[in-house]
Symmetry: C2
Subunit: 248 residues, 2 copies
């Protein structure tokens, strides 16, 4: 029933964000692919401490990557967007060190854990790309660390929204000028920023009354990107386009 997507016609490949792929690598990736999977919102794709037999590339949909503490708190590590490679840890280390949960319906490209090593062994270029992705991801987490560690609440929130705006825009899910889907709750944002829900709400309200943004019904509208970037403590040279990265 559900048609499998051919890699050659991969809906993500068309975005300028992703590096081009030569025929050999594309063919190898096609063989690496084990199938597809479609899941509902709220599905836990990976669970902290568990071993996952599969890992995925997100074709469409969004989610969250998070860790939990013994006392029940949750820290969102990053937002999961189309093109993201998730579950790499279970292929490398013994178990997942974080959980991954969807917040929308999600369409995934599935790979087998056991075939990662052969895949990387037989396709050095792709192995290089996997490492690259891993390094990109590490940098994203490090940037979040800087934001949370050094900035006050308003700056953090503006920064997070601005980054989501550019990241989501880059994978084409724009709904018109300055409008992007943002299928998260204020609690999700709070857990990502290390803030309480109440305070997140207040700051959010503040940014809205300032006219920079509005966020209703899971749609974020950025009315003044420059102002938002300023509020986020970004200098002009930081507002470049996101560098290209590989897609597995």
């Amino acid at each position: 029933m559900k048609a499998e997507t051919d890699c050659a016609a991969c809906p993500l490949r068309k975005f300028a964000l992703f590096e081009a792929l030569d025929e050999n690598d594309e063919e190898a990736t096609r063989r690496f692919k084990d199938g597809e999977r479609r899941v509902d919102p709220g599905t836990i794709l990976m669970h902290e401490g568990m071993v996952s037999e599969d890992f995925y590339t997100v074709l469409s949909g969004m989610g969250l990557r998070y860790k939990t503490t013994p006392d029940g708190k949750r820290q969102v590590i990053n937002f999961v967007l189309p093109g993201d490679f998730i579950g790499l840890q279970s292929g490398l280390m013994s178990e997942m060190k974080h959980s991954v949960e969807t917040t929308t319906r999600m369409h995934l490209c599935r790979f087998k854990r056991s075939s990662l090593l052969p895949f990387m062994r037989n396709n050095p270029g792709r192995a290089f790309d996997v490492t690259w992705l891993s390094a990109v991801e590490e940098n994203l987490v490090a940037e979040a660390l800087v934001s949370i560690g050094q900035q006050p609440a308003a700056t953090r929130l503006a920064w997070a929204l601005h980054r989501l705006y550019t990241r989501i825009s880059a994978v084409g899910a724009d709904l018109g000028p300055g409008r992007i889907p943002l299928p998260y709750t204020q609690q999700d944002m709070a857990d990502a920023l290390g803030l309480s829900l109440v305070h997140t709400n207040r700051i959010l309200r503040l940014l809205q009354t300032d006219g920079m943004i509005s966020w209703r019904d899971k749609v974020l509208t950025v009315h003044d990107e420059r102002a938002l970037a300023n509020r986020a403590g970004m200098t002009a040279d930081m507002q470049e386009t996101i560098p290209r990265r590989p897609l597995i």
Copy 2:
């Protein structure tokens, strides 16, 4: 004058922390190696925004990996210890996204940026290991994010000290029961934990008067590891030994 270290006699290899290496991989790594380098404390090995022609594995010595914000603040991303692979970003992405600075004299194993791709291409097993290291590093940063985002100051500090204690112990630099070198300043710790210097000092003092630790003259003594782990909000199952990881 300065004798080069043979990979076969690599001073790090003996630690249980690191995975064993077969002869082929060891030989390949030896050819990958471009030389060694010794630097003084306070040397900036990599600079945020710059392209580094080399990258390194730390043979001995310690340092810091950090990012700076436009308003002059600094966030320490991680502490650099022996066995760490530093500068991978410059080999993968266009430029370094963080700086690396030494806090002691450091002895480094040097690799050329241009030979990373061939190295990974010709040695799939080692390519896999590089990715593994990158994933381990990402997880360390993510754990710091959880700590900073969700825990109060005392818990953060206890957690950071406990982790440094186990990490540093694992690379053999112990100075007796519960004693390890900790060549950082309180300002370094503050920047790592997202706390002010003053508050870091107070909490530190608190942990010392509680008798858990003492930290003087760049030497940390952990008097009661269990108590420290408790203070860090760790449950019993989290206090396992650090999993093995590869060494490049």
